[in-house]
Symmetry: C2
């Protein structure tokens, strides 16, 4: 069964109920100083405090608990050397099933250690997309594991969309929302949920200049696949998925692009004013708000901070 | 009018109402991994997300808003090169009155910059207790500012006690609470509030081995003043105040002492499992719980994390 299509709002509501016993209701933090600087009321949704340190747990957990008992028996598999791998391993553990994660040779050792610590079996492959997919397919055949793609999966998108449900319950006054855009699982899930609840809400995405395929694709009216990512935002290097891009277009998500310098400055500012250390990818949202100040002025704006898996001994400044 | 006496519960309730428009309701974070390691349910009260990055804002804010308009006119003064100085400046700003902070020559420049950025006028003095007090008294005489002591002040203790009100509302099931012990303003305020609401609650303090005057004083039955602090926990070097010590004794607060190594390990663990960077002083509470494991096993335990004003470029590991 293919899962490369968009979830509807019912699926997102079902996901919220499904993950509730396992996921953290993450806090919303505020800062007078940042509000003043932005000229807007900023509500930071801290998914860096989610299980596994990133929002990815929501989607992975929903996928794992969407399986029938028979499907679940063989476990789950994905290819990701980042937060989705860790999230899937943690989610599988909540159901007591195996998790297999295909990782490319040369991936950062610290990230692999996180995934292993979360309980996954690692499978190494050559560092290219074809090898990843072949290896994942092989693991599927051999173990009966179900594939859970990091973003091109309706169960994953539905899980990520629960952030919008939760945030709108925490801050009913919101009139705009911004998320980082990588593969687009988060942005599309959030768009579907947010507009189902508040059709008038304005949606924004933040993307690094060096991985601006979503911005270009929306401008061109078709998926631009020629972007070679060049950014410190390792969580945002993926090309936006097909279904995900369709959701961004249908929900008129406006993408603001930011330079790595602006993003790193925003990451420092988040530490200085909110006392949180977030992944550089997460800081794109604040960078976008400070860059395109006029667009956000006077808003009650929700900013999704996606993760906090940072090496404190190797900060990017 | 002297303020070197204990507040009662009514004062703490009044403080909660007084600071509500200005203070942050800080989140409570949890970690399955830490619960497993401790053998207890740990509820971390994150005052590192309080305004100014530390719980001190509560006491300072209550003191500032306890002044009559006539008293407030001359502003406030304190001697502190740490979080209380910043907190008092921020609190004074909420009322639009001046704040004077007496700081010893040789204090850490980064901390002084924080206090100044919060809007205080700095007054330098020689680095000893007598000079601090003389200088503060001089500022009082010259400006009409009201003295707000960092911990030996009933208004300050009442403000710190609001943490217990807030935490018990957030986690009604708590049966034990632990705070770091420095001057004792936090521990005494929390003890008074917690026992007024839950007489059966067990109270603990955490103190560095190298600044264990409260533990020694409680053991000796009298205030031990001979301790020369030797610890990385810069927030816990003060001798416990007289009134504060009386409160610890009356509320049978049990003090657990921890080495700096244990505390630094706990600080790292808080980053690894909760994705928060707290001041080393704050980590004493987790160090104590992991050290005296038997005492806390099976408890629903509240741990007050006092602050997050850390230099990320100079972590203690």
């Amino acid at each position: 069964m293919s899962h490369d299509h968009l979830p509807d709002f019912d699926q997102i509501r079902a996901a919220a109920a499904r993950i509730a016993p396992h996921a953290v209701v993450t806090p919303v933090l505020r800062s007078d100083a940042l509000d003043t600087q932005a000229g807007a009321a900023l509500h930071f949704k801290c998914e860096n405090f989610q299980r596994g340190g990133a929002f990815k747990f929501r989607g992975a957990c929903n996928a794992v608990w969407s399986l029938t008992d028979e499907q679940a028996r063989g476990g789950v598999v994905t290819h990701s050397s980042g937060n989705h791998g860790t999230a899937l391993a943690l989610a599988a553990a909540t159901r007591g099933i195996p998790a297999h994660v295909v990782v490319p040779e040369g991936a950062v050792q610290a990230k692999l250690a996180l995934i292993e610590r979360a309980g996954a079996v690692l499978h190494r492959c050559a560092p290219n997309q074809a090898a990843r997919e072949t290896t994942a397919a092989e693991v599927q055949r051999r173990t009966g594991a179900q594939l859970v793609h990091p973003y091109a999966d309706d169960r994953v998108m539905a899980g990520q969309g629960t952030i919008a449900l939760e945030l709108l319950a925490q801050v009913p006054a919101l009139d705009a929302l911004i998320t980082p855009v990588g593969g687009g699982g988060l942005a599309s899930g959030v768009a579907i949920a947010a507009h189902a609840l508040r059709p008038g809400l304005t949606l924004y995405g933040a993307e690094p200049v060096g991985a601006d395929d979503a911005a270009r694709s929306l401008a061109a009216g078709e998926r631009v696949e020629s972007v070679l990512p060049d950014t410190v935002c390792d969580g945002l290097r993926a090309l936006v998925g097909r279904a995900n891009l369709a959701a961004l277009r249908d929900h008129t998500v406006e993408v603001v692009t930011v330079s790595d310098e602006e993003t790193i400055a925003a990451m420092r500012l988040l530490w200085r004013e909110l006392r949180i250390v977030v992944e550089v990818s997460s800081a794109t949202v604040l960078a976008a708000v400070l860059k395109a100040r006029d667009r956000f002025a006077g808003r009650q704006l929700g900013l999704v901070l996606t993760g906090g898996n940072v090496d404190l001994d190797a900060l990017p400044w």
